[in-house]
């Protein structure tokens, strides 16, 4: 640690709690929690259909009350996720277009891919091979942006194809009949990609990799310690420090009971996700 005196340590004989910085707003953590819950619900009720010939799928369907129950939960989760998606888009629109907030659509804090992201990607590969130093990331690293856009695109594609099947006769008024055939292929394949990507790649990148293992709590509490901040987003940390805005991001540490609840919820979600990943791979490779 080169800078930052607030690092956990002993100062004048008394223990000082590590400084905590806010990364996500409560609204953003709530949206993430909603996406997690509904995504798990959608995967749990969608995968049995994708792999409907697997004995496990049939057992699950029978246990939860048949296909009607599965479809009901699937649609319910889909509607909630759609609302969360619209809330997020609305928020971006409000912040970026109405309030004209800087850094939403372009710049170091934007989710939009920047030239730096491509450089970071190559730098990171060089670092993986031991050919260079670790790149210093901004507010959102390139794989985080990929996660974001993968989910964004996924929700649009899966959502539209899903609603097309749900209201097939209505959509057939302006779509050719084969589009309904395509809808199932798109819905199923994109969902399979989402499931495999989230439960394998996103889980590893964000939660299970050494350094974050067993869980990165920042998305659950919205806050992280200074050590994490500086380690994971060195560029943003030094940029804020240079601009003198670091202090404005300091927040109170989350209460221990909140952390406990968040941790349990997080572990349950990861456990369900990894189980579904294992079952999906089993079903996929067994035919």
């Amino acid at each position: 640690m080169s800078s930052g005196g607030g690092k956990s340590g002993v100062m004048a004989g008394q223990t000082v709690a590590p400084k905590v910085y806010r990364r996500f707003t409560p609204m953003q953590t709530l949206l993430h929690a909603t996406v997690v819950t509904t995504f798990l619900g959608l995967a749990l009720t969608g995968l049995p259909l994708r792999f409907s010939t697997s004995p496990l799928a049939k057992g699950f369907a029978t246990t939860v009350g048949g296909f009607a129950a599965i479809l009901f939960f699937h649609k319910m989760c889909a509607v909630i996720l759609t609302l969360a998606f619209l809330a997020h888009v609305g928020q971006i629109f409000y912040r970026g277009v109405i309030r004209r907030e800087k850094g939403i659509f372009w710049g170091p804090t934007s989710m939009v891919p920047q030239w730096k992201d491509l450089k970071d990607l190559f730098a990171n590969f060089r670092w993986f091979m031991g050919l260079g130093s670790k790149p210093r990331f901004e507010r959102y690293a390139y794989w985080e942006k990929f996660d974001y856009w993968a989910v964004f695109w996924g929700m649009v594609v899966i959502g539209i194809s899903g609603y097309a099947m749900w209201f097939a006769p209505f959509f057939a008024r302006f779509l050719p009949g084969w589009a309904l055939n395509a809808a199932l292929i798109i819905h199923g394949d994109e969902a399979l990609l989402a499931v495999l990507f989230i439960f394998a790649i996103h889980f590893f990148n964000t939660h299970l990799r050494p350094g974050s293992f067993p869980m990165d709590m920042v998305v659950l509490t919205g806050r992280e310690t200074e050590v994490e901040f500086e380690e994971k987003r060195a560029m943003e940390y030094s940029r804020l420090a240079g601009e003198g805005k670091l202090e404005s991001r300091v927040d109170l540490p989350p209460s221990s009971s909140f952390v406990t609840v968040a941790r349990i919820a997080g572990f349950v979600a990861v456990a369900i996700g990894l189980t579904l990943l294992a079952l999906t791979l089993m079903a996929y490779f067994s035919g």
Partner: protein, 457 residues
């Protein structure tokens, strides 16, 4: 006097010939006269013709008297000498009426007098059947009673049947105690419709027996079937029992073209009760192909099975039957499997399109036929059965799309290909990314640990 069985058969024959159905008190349709039934395709013998004439005049009662004139005459002769007859029976029962009477080999030779008198043969003298016993003491060796002496038609039927090798014993296997045979309409008769499955099941439900004779143990399957349940649980005398399909005395193996269970005869056999369905079946492609001699064309039992026939609304039946259709229509089955319809049905949900929901179950017609529910002109109506609001564009949905065939639909093929490439390129790239990342982080940790170890040293 006739045995209950011969009466049963005769009444069936009468009903066969006249299209009437009064041989049982349950108004059964089993023996509706049909143009293509096996029985009526045979030339009528003079006796049957006589029956037929009587039948036309509505004198069913007369039938038996004419048909069995010789027996009746014999009976009258016996009745003319009642003293002699009764005296003879009393004579026999004075010894054989003793319970527990045994022959030298230890076999019971006692007769339950009451049961015998109540039986259909009760009015006959003992020597009517045991004709070789004329003296007392009896001859050392007594001949086996030949039921066929009186029951000639049944005996000749039996002689050519699968049960022929059992000889005279075969009669008793089904009709039970020869001294207590009751009318077939008597609930206690082993050949009363409700009792037939159990009677046949004595052998055909016996694991050792069926194994020895290389047969299928079908008794349990029948009992669990819709026919078995209707008969056993509901007491429906109209429900098919063993003899409804296999016949009674002249039971032939299903490989015999004359057997009602021979493949080509099955639609007629089932059609004896399922009248309307047979007509539909024969009007469809399957029925026409079957009549044209196709061995591939399915008959009733291919979809419904022979013995474990279930209620068509049952999920298990519907799931199995998709596979049955798919057994021949392989490509259509594979492309159906790719659809939402199939996914839902595989989960055990029946309210979704199965093969027969669109193509029809019994009257399967080619899509080119204007009457076919999958004819282009009828699709809106057919799809609309489930999809309210279905329109012409909606029904251009392809329920057997092949996204792996470029020529089938290039756009669909391209979309499928794009999705596959997207899936594997994204996962492939990030799999490499993840493995490299993990390796790098682990290496860094090991290095740090080693460095720490060095420091401590």
């Amino acid at each position: 006097m006739t045995s209950p069985d011969s009466r049963f058969e005769e009444q069936k024959t009468v009903a066969d010939l006249c299209g009437k159905q009064d041989y049982s008190n349950a108004g059964c349709k089993w023996n509706l006269g049909r143009s293509r039934t096996m029985l009526s395709s045979k030339p009528l013998n003079p006796a049957k013709e006589a029956i037929h004439r009587n039948c036309q005049s509505g004198e069913h009662g007369m039938v038996h008297r004419y048909r069995l004139l010789p027996v009746a005459v014999c009976t009258v002769l016996f009745l003319l000498v009642p003293g002699l007859l009764m005296g003879q029976q009393l004579d026999c029962l004075s010894c054989h009426g003793n319970p527990g009477m045994q022959d030298s080999a230890g076999h019971s030779i006692s007769i339950a007098a009451d049961a015998f008198h109540a039986s259909v043969h009760g009015a006959l003298g003992c020597t009517a059947c045991h004709s070789d016993i004329k003296t007392f003491p009896h001859p050392a060796k007594i001949a086996e009673v030949q039921c066929g002496t009186c029951h000639t038609q049944e005996a000749s039927g039996l002689a050519g049947s699968v049960h022929a090798r059992q000889g005279a014993k075969a009669c008793l296997q089904c009709h039970g105690n020869p001294h207590a045979i009751v009318k077939v309409t008597d609930r206690n008769s082993p050949v009363y419709p409700l009792n037939i499955p159990h009677t046949c099941g004595t052998c055909h439900g016996n694991a050792k027996f069926v194994k020895k004779h290389h047969l299928k143990n079908v008794y349990g399957e029948y009992e669990d079937s819709i026919h078995g349940a209707a008969l056993t649980n509901e007491g429906l005398l109209v429900a098919a029992n063993c003899s409804s399909c296999h016949g009674t005395h002249h039971i032939l193996p299903h490989t015999n073209p004359k057997s009602p269970t021979y493949r080509k005869n099955i639609p007629d056999t089932c059609g004896k009760c399922h009248e309307g369905i047979e007509a539909k079946y024969l009007a469809g492609m399957h029925g026409k192909a079957m009549l044209a001699g196709s061995k591939k064309a399915p008959v009733c039992t291919d979809c419904h099975t022979a013995h474990r026939i279930s209620e068509p609304a049952q999920t298990a039946f519907q799931e199995r039957t998709i596979g049955t259709c798919g057994g021949c229509h392989r490509e259509k089955y594979a492309t159906y499997r790719d659809t939402f319809h199939a996914q839902v049905s595989a989960l055990g949900y029946t309210e979704v399109a199965h093969c027969w929901d669109c193509h029809g179950a019994h009257e399967v017609l080619p899509a080119s036929d204007p009457l076919s529910p999958v004819n282009r002109a009828n699709l809106v109506k057919t799809c609309g059965k489930c999809h309210s609001g279905a329109n012409v564009k909606f029904v251009s949905y392809e329920p057997h799309a092949n996204a792996y065939d470029f020529h089938f639909n290039p756009a669909l093929y391209s979309i499928r290909l794009f999705m596959d490439l997207l899936l594997w390129s994204v996962l492939g790239f990030f799999a490499i990314h993840t493995v490299l990342w993990f390796t790098r982080l682990q290496c860094a940790r090991w290095k740090a640990r080693t460095a720490k170890g060095d420091e401590h040293e």
